[in-house]
Symmetry: C2
Subunit: 100 residues, 2 copies
């Protein structure tokens, strides 16, 4: 199991972010407002950041941040999470993953 | 006259951006839709990028990008430009600066 697969299966919601990125900030705030308690990895602040970034790029996630995993599966970047929210399907996804 | 002051007086609209930043991309697209022809400086791609970034930080612009100057004066970052647009005051500003 590679590093990212292991990290995303540890919590119902996992967010890969950069602290200097306002789009990442927007997505983190949106998910926190639902009351979920995501694992947040700031790739520009943690020592394994560059390694995780490479792993995400290998998974085909480019550009890299924000990247949101729900229930161990890639749910999307900023555009996808905002669309899911507007279609009112984000809350059921979070519930099914046991995040709510 | 410092470097940034000189750069922003050369064209009616000047945008400091980073090519890797989706918020910068949004603001560039918004201004291009008005039909203005801004000078765009991608600070992560040009050799003087770090020097310009330092000059913008010294002017008090933090976080740095996007930074929009209209008629030689600082008009704001993403939040300010979006608010000006929603208040319908962006178009008159662009007209007064001779950008439209
Ligand atoms: N449309 C993408 C935008 C993602 C994006 O552009 N991410 C930028 C930061 S805002 C990025 O990862 N840039 C490369 C980098 O920062 O290393 C989304 O919906 O998430
Ligand atoms: N709220 C600010 C957001 C600006 C912002 O957070 N900019 C980020 C990139 S999205 C930045 O400059 N981060 C530091 C850097 O990239 O060096 C605005 O309205 O422009
Ligand atoms: S780096 Fe600017 S929005 Fe992400």
């Amino acid at each position: 199991m590679d590093m990212v697969t292991r990290m995303v299966s540890e919590r119902p919601v996992v967010i890969f972010s950069k602290s200097s990125c306002s789009m990442s900030h927007t997505i983190k705030s949106l998910l926190l407002e639902f009351g979920v308690n995501p694992a947040i990895y700031e790739l520009d602040e943690i020592s394994k950041g560059p390694e995780i970034e490479q792993a995400l790029l290998r998974l085909g996630r480019s550009p890299v941040v924000p990247a949101v995993f729900i229930g161990g599966k890639f749910a999307g970047g900023a555009n996808e999470i905002i669309s899911l929210h507007l279609q009112r399907s984000l809350q059921p996804m979070l519930k099914n993953a046991g995040a709510l």
